[in-house]
């Protein structure tokens, strides 16, 4: 049930972030539901395929949708149980999203264009540098709860031990927010509003897509944003003791808050220089490992 709600609500999140950014910079901005209209419009259009692309180009949007969908199935969205969890499934979580990224990078290289190649190379670089931050955050959660599945760590019977492990859990939440900024390609890693191909990273990886494929990719990207926003929300707000409807409401409110926070970050910072982005990503890992060390000391 919560999965369906999230699937419907996911495209609203980028709209919330964009609206926040617009309001903070003194504009009116696009409506929050803009992405829904875009998806509807794109699905009805035809597509233009490049003569150099092969079947890999057409498979990547499908993988880009299926992988976040299946990953959502591993999270305890209603605060208690995940639709399909198992021991050690957070490894599967990260690996699944890596599969989606792998197909997307290959599809970008399939077009034989230097712009896509540049975007693919940078995308792969940032993804590989932020992977340890995600894993270390899960390690801290495993240490704090003693559980080894996402369902156990973020939902389940026991609430997170905020009493004893508060500093570590705060740092995990901040580190997961940094991971969200990277995976959703937001400032300070990538600027989703730029129009110059040489300054795009994720946007230029999908430069050659059009029509229904682009719709799939945009929806998949919105799902990934919802996925990575659900992680810090689950860490910060433990919902195990709430009834199902209230837990869902808390989750949605949390997601909207995270989207607003993303908008605030986007309007107050510029994108980092490309050679400084690895520093930012390593800072996310440093925060998570500091949390792990703190947890090991107590």
């Amino acid at each position: 049930m919560s999965l369906l709600v999230l699937l419907v609500l996911a495209p609203a999140l980028p709209g919330v972030a964009a609206k926040t950014k617009a309001v903070l910079t003194g504009r009116r901005g696009a409506p929050v539901m803009q992405l829904y209209w875009d998806l509807f419009r794109l699905v009805r259009k035809g597509a233009v395929y490049s003569t150099t692309t092969t079947w890999m180009f057409r498979v990547a949007p499908v993988a880009g949708l299926v992988t976040p969908l299946l990953a959502l199935g591993l999270l305890p969205l209603d605060g208690r149980r995940a639709p399909f969890g198992f021991t050690g499934d957070f490894v599967a979580f990260a690996a699944l999203l890596a599969l989606g990224r792998f197909t997307l990078v290959l599809a970008a290289l399939d077009t034989g264009s230097s712009f896509e190649g540049m975007g693919a190379s940078r995308d792969a670089t940032f993804a590989s540098l932020v992977e340890p931050a995600l894993f270390l955050s899960f390690v801290v959660l495993a240490l704090a709860t003693g559980q080894l599945s996402l369902e156990g760590m973020l939902g389940g019977a026991q609430a997170l031990p905020w009493g004893a492990a508060a500093p570590a859990l705060t740092m995990v939440a901040v580190s997961l927010f940094f991971v969200l900024l990277t995976e959703a390609s937001r400032v300070p890693v990538d600027d989703p509003a730029t129009h110059l191909e040489l300054t795009m990273i994720h946007e230029v990886t999908v430069l050659d897509y059009s029509g229904p494929d682009l719709a799939l990719l945009l929806y998949g990207a919105a799902l990934r944003m919802a996925l990575f926003a659900a992680l810090p929300v689950s860490v910060l707000a433990s919902r195990a003791h709430l009834p199902v409807a209230a837990a869902l409401g808390v989750l949605v409110a949390g997601l909207v808050t995270v989207a607003v926070a993303v908008g605030v970050v986007e309007s107050s910072m510029a994108r980092l220089r490309l050679s400084r982005v690895p520093q930012f990503l390593v800072a996310a890992s440093v925060l998570a490992s500091l949390g792990a060390i703190l947890q090991l000391l107590t």
Partner: protein, 212 residues
């Protein structure tokens, strides 16, 4: 109170990482100032029975570490008109990773070190981590002013360690703080100014030209 002490020590560590990872000189100096301020609050939190002694120590530390010294250093920057920063010798990413190793080693040693008395385990960890990170800044940064910042961070670490013996040895921490800091900064200040007047840059790597 114990949680507040843990929080303060954690913030000290986080500002240490800020010093390791930032590019701007003024940010480094402000970070070490905030570290000093947090450390000034620490004796008040560790010993909730506030005697005149602890209040005086706290006030003195905040005055010296958080207000006077940073102001002096910022004035020195303005005098010599240096803003930019050169990459550390090992790169920013490697500096951050070495910082994490420093904290890990400090944590491993802190759990085994036989320090008398009851302290939060984060206390000894933070002090050793600050010492190692201060030494790392001293070794890997080229600008003489940043080496002063590294020295101050080293001093902060020693101060934190001194807090473990606050009740037992009177005036140990105070004398250490005042004397070391003043002597260090005074000498560094003189040297910095003289370097600036005699040569064109504050790059300490070029000090090797002074030999024979």
């Amino acid at each position: 109170m114990e949680r507040l002490a843990d929080l303060l020590l954690l913030l000290v560590l986080l500002f240490g990482f800020l010093i390791l990872g930032t590019t701007r000189l003024t940010t480094c100096i402000r970070a070490v100032a905030v570290q000093g301020g947090l450390l000034g609050l620490l004796p008040l939190v560790l010993h909730p029975q506030w005697s005149v002694h602890t209040l005086g120590l706290a006030a003195g530390t905040i005055l010296v570490k958080a207000i006077v010294l940073p102001a002096f250093l910022i004035w020195a920057i303005r005098e010599s008109a240096v803003r930019r920063e050169v990459e550390p010798r090992v790169g920013y990413v490697a500096s951050l990773v070495l910082g994490i190793f420093a904290v890990a080693v400090a944590g491993a040693v802190a759990t085994r070190l036989p320090v008398p008395g009851e302290h939060p385990v984060l206390l000894v960890t933070t002090s050793l981590a600050c010492v190692i990170m201060g030494l790392q800044v001293l070794a890997t940064r080229a600008k003489a002013l940043l080496q002063v910042v590294g020295y101050l961070m080293l001093e902060n670490g020693i101060y934190v360690f001194g807090l473990t013996s606050l009740d037992r040895v009177p005036f140990l921490v105070e004398i250490g703080v005042l004397l070391d800091v003043f002597v260090g900064v005074f000498i560094m200040g003189i040297v910095v100014f003289h370097i600036n007047r005699e040569f064109d840059s504050l790059d300490s790597a070029r000090l090797t030209e002074l030999r024979d």
